[in-house]
């Protein structure tokens, strides 16, 4: 009896507490700078105080939230400057990884990438934004994993995630349909460049892709 109850209660949390909060953070379900009060998290995620503390510490270590002593934790809120630095650093890592990937990627993996891009194309009009965001993430993760350097890939992933919390609509230029379409076309082009083993071209494409959002900013 008690076991069944416990299972039922936990049913919605087949994932760990951290990953549930993380998912909400990366999906932009919190506002930048929003306070994550322990009591609230405790209630909203149906967890106990200790787990909440551990989860928040974990997320803090990954810089998705920040910690202010005696105040608590709040969603990261990057300054203009920090955002610049983030994109500069991502450009460095991602262009380098792209060049490596162009050399090392296998034909099978290119096919996998293409499958993701196709799925993106199909779901672009119907699916929810979160779904598209997930596909986008899978595309880039797989691409950078193909660099053959998984530490590099992890580093890139971590940096990408740091830009997401509090960024509405997935965080890039994805506020507009045009942005999403542009993103998709970039991906198609990347596949072609991978097939052509054009590392430099790919790097350039990545750079443009990364800085795409600038075109869609309210006030540049």
């Amino acid at each position: 009896m008690a076991n069944i109850m416990a299972t039922k209660i936990d049913s919605e949390s087949d994932q760990t507490l951290v990953s549930r909060i993380e998912a909400d953070l990366l999906a932009g379900h919190f506002r930048p700078g929003e306070w994550l009060k322990q009591a609230d998290v405790e209630a909203n995620y149906n967890a106990n105080r200790f787990d909440v503390r551990m989860a928040l510490l974990d997320l803090k270590a990954r810089q998705l939230i920040e910690h202010i002593p005696n105040r608590g934790f709040r969603v990261i809120n990057l300054s203009e400057r920090e955002r610049e630095e983030l994109f500069e650093t991502r450009s460095i890592l991602e262009t380098a990884a792209a060049k490596l990937a162009a050399e090392r990627i296998s034909d099978e993996t290119i096919a996998e990438l293409e499958a993701i891009v196709r799925q993106f194309e199909v779901q672009m009009e119907t699916a929810e934004l979160d779904e598209l965001r997930a596909l986008n993430g899978r595309f880039h993760d797989l691409l950078y994993q193909s660099s053959g350097n998984s530490l590099l890939a992890e580093e890139i992933k971590a940096l990408r995630q740091r830009g997401l919390p509090g960024a509405r609509g997935g965080g890039l230029a994805w506020r507009t349909m045009a942005g999403i379409l542009q993103s998709h076309e970039d991906h198609v082009r990347m596949i072609a460049l991978l097939r052509a083993r054009d590392g430099d071209g790919l790097a350039e494409a990545i750079c443009g892709h990364l800085n795409m959002w600038r075109k869609y900013l309210p006030k540049p």
Copy 2:
């Protein structure tokens, strides 16, 4: 009375527990793969169980130690492959940062760097290895901070540190005096390249500097 006692007891730990353990890790005072049992740490650092746990979690987040469920924490022990990946990634970031630094660094900061190098030269024969290691760290930190991108600098610092735990003698090619001397000469050369604003040359120097240790390996 009690206050004075407390202060005295804490006197040796004016730094936090994490930074004390961290210092020992980075100085190579633990062996790679060595277990950090909670009880031992508790005793050796004169701390309580809770603080130890928090400290170990923190160090785990920075990948200086790893955590195996129900076994505990142990000093990171990089595989050959992981070490390759680490250096490849560092090369990418550090050469990029060096190029930026060559553009953006001020004359004052170059002078600061030179001061560190001079101090290194003076202390090379007399000072302890830990002292030299600290100076080396300050040199590289300041250099990469001069890229004007502090996120980039932090990232580089974190990656550098990940290579240190368990690496005897500071972790690089610093097992031999020749390695230390080589390192110093590299630094001198870097200063010259900075003065000449030769970003590409500097990047190349960094690359060689980073991969210097290969020459001094027991079995390549």
